[in-house]
């Protein structure tokens, strides 16, 4: 599904990713774990086309997407839930979701009911300004908005950030249901090991812009190993 080959990228002179390689099969959920500043978010931004590559290439289902504009990449089936959620706070919940539907290659004018079925709280708050939602609700909105585009690949950047633990579990549960139903492929950047354990099957440890280790999710129980890779 997703093939990231030897990519390098960064910001104004500092290289964050350096020859990063990744392969993701369709229908799999892959976790990315690593300390801050190791290039996880940068990788997602590169895949989404928000950051130009200095080297390497990225392909989706056999077709090159690196060099494309973000909207083209989105229309080819990649959806992005960025860190900080980036919902449109001034727009209503429904308008946020409709934007996801309008961004499809074949635009959809109405939000499909199935989306609300997965996130019932959003149906309740449909007419509310998105900025007035709680953090957990905003995160659900950001995920639902991404799903509204009917993506093949979902990029999630720290969905648990700033959200209380009980809500994190709820979000994990809803995501899991969506993934199970739709066969979605997911690339999940996350520091929260609990969430990773619930969702991911395989976890890559990222260090200094490269993959340092490739582990089955069960290995996250190994405290010693976690400390080695994550302790500051």
């Amino acid at each position: 599904m997703l093939k990231v080959e030897e990519i390098s990228a960064g910001y104004q002179g500092s290289r964050v990713l350096d020859g990063f390689d990744l392969r993701l099969e369709a229908g799999r959920v892959l976790g990315l774990l690593g300390r801050n500043g190791m290039g996880k978010t940068t990788l997602l931004r590169c895949i989404m086309g928000l950051l130009p590559l200095a080297a390497g290439r990225i392909a989706l289902a056999g077709r090159q997407i690196s060099g494309c504009h973000p909207y083209e990449i989105a229309q080819r089936g990649v959806a992005f839930v960025p860190q900080g959620r980036e919902i449109f706070g001034e727009l209503t919940v429904e308008e946020n979701l409709r934007l996801g539907c309008l961004g499809r290659r074949q635009p959809l004018r109405e939000v499909p009911a199935s989306l609300f079925a997965h996130f019932p709280i959003l149906a309740e708050r449909k007419q509310q300004r998105a900025g007035s939602l709680s953090g957990g609700e905003q995160q659900q909105l950001a995920i639902a908005r991404a799903l509204a585009g009917a993506p093949r690949l979902l990029l999630l950047d720290e969905p648990s950030e700033g959200i209380q633990p009980s809500i994190v579990l709820e979000i994990a549960q809803r995501l899991k249901a969506v993934v199970r139903e739709s066969g979605l492929t997911v690339l999940l950047v996350e520091q929260n090991v609990t969430l990773l354990r619930r969702l991911a099957e395989q976890v890559l440890i990222v260090e200094k812009g490269r993959v340092a280790a490739d582990l089955p999710v069960a290995d996250l129980d190994d405290e010693e190993l976690l400390r080695r890779h994550l302790a500051v």
Binding site: Y71, R98, L99, L102
Partner: protein, 295 residues
């Protein structure tokens, strides 16, 4: 009483014409962060479109109908050739569009000469309103402007296109990540803003002296309106134009046009001091924090 009504009507038609120009500026600035210094010349082109059509033997109404489309088309070309290269480069956008305004002005001088042109008044009669006679054509200007302002609000707040445009204004990169074709949106919006200016120029042509300098006379109050009203919202143009246009025409009628200029500028300075983001101002957008301003 009669005097007051006349004044209100005059102010109203002036305000609405400024609104048309200011709204185009707000839309373009909101979406692309481009300050379009050539917007006054798009107004100018609208007026000359009517002159050209009349010169070719057509009548005013044909010119009026054609103007928004012709100027919209000019906008499309200008966007493609100039404006898209300076998106999000604030200072460059001012210089580039200023240069463009000079070029358009000179092109008009070459085509029509520097002298002012007359456009015949298409509706001559006047209407009795509460015992006061008022030219019908001025009422027509107000009706057209009101309709177009209403239509623009409808587009931006009720249509899918408007929803997409508002999402791009709020957070361009995130909108693109949802699959919104930001490039096409920029182009369409610029052309629409240009068409608004063109229409304003055409509809105002019969009651103004149509000359190559006429654009500036509308660009300045339109800019002041946005500064006073706020650039973050369409309603800002409406509020700002009401304040600026209203003050200008009332002071000019009661006192003198020169005094009106002084009053308007003084008021603008005070308003900007009190409301730095405009009367309908919005807090700085937060969406760009994460994404940066790459494109």
């Amino acid at each position: 009483m009669d005097q007051a009504l006349l004044l209100a009507l005059d102010a109203g038609s002036y305000i609405l014409a400024i609104v048309l120009v200011a709204m185009g500026l707000v839309i373009i600035f909101g979406l692309m962060r481009v300050i379009n210094m050539a917007h006054g010349e798009l107004f100018l082109l609208g007026a000359y479109c009517v002159v050209a059509v009349e010169g070719a033997g057509g009548n005013f109404w044909l010119g009026l109908l054609l103007a928004p489309f012709a100027v919209g088309l000019v906008g499309l070309v200008v966007e493609q050739l100039v404006v898209r290269h300076v998106y999000h480069r604030f200072l460059d956008s001012i210089l580039a569009t200023w240069g463009l305004s000079i070029a358009i002005k000179q092109a008009v001088v070459l085509g029509f000469g520097p002298a002012s042109q007359q456009v015949s008044l298409p509706i001559a009669g006047s209407l009795s309103l509460l015992g006061t006679d008022y030219p019908v054509y001025r009422l027509f200007i107000m009706a057209v402007s009101l309709a177009v302002v209403g239509f623009t609000f409808w587009i931006f707040f009720r249509s899918d296109f408007g929803l997409k445009a508002r999402s791009v204004i709020a957070n361009r990169d995130m909108a693109a990540c949802l699959g919104i074709n930001t490039r096409r949106l920029d182009r369409t919006t610029f052309a629409y803003g240009a068409a608004l200016a063109g229409l304003a120029g055409a509809v105002m042509a019969p009651i103004m002296s149509v000359d190559p300098q006429m654009g500036l006379g509308f660009l300045v109050p339109a800019f002041l309106s946005i500064l006073v009203g706020g650039s973050g919202h369409l309603a800002g143009a409406l509020v700002g134009a009401t304040v600026i246009g209203g003050t200008d025409s009332v002071t000019a009628a009661l006192w003198s046009p020169v005094a009106a200029q002084i009053v308007v500028f003084t008021m603008a300075v005070i308003a900007i001091r009190l409301f730095p983001d405009g009367v309908v101002g919005k807090r700085r957008r937060q969406g760009r924090r994460f994404f940066g301003e790459r494109r």
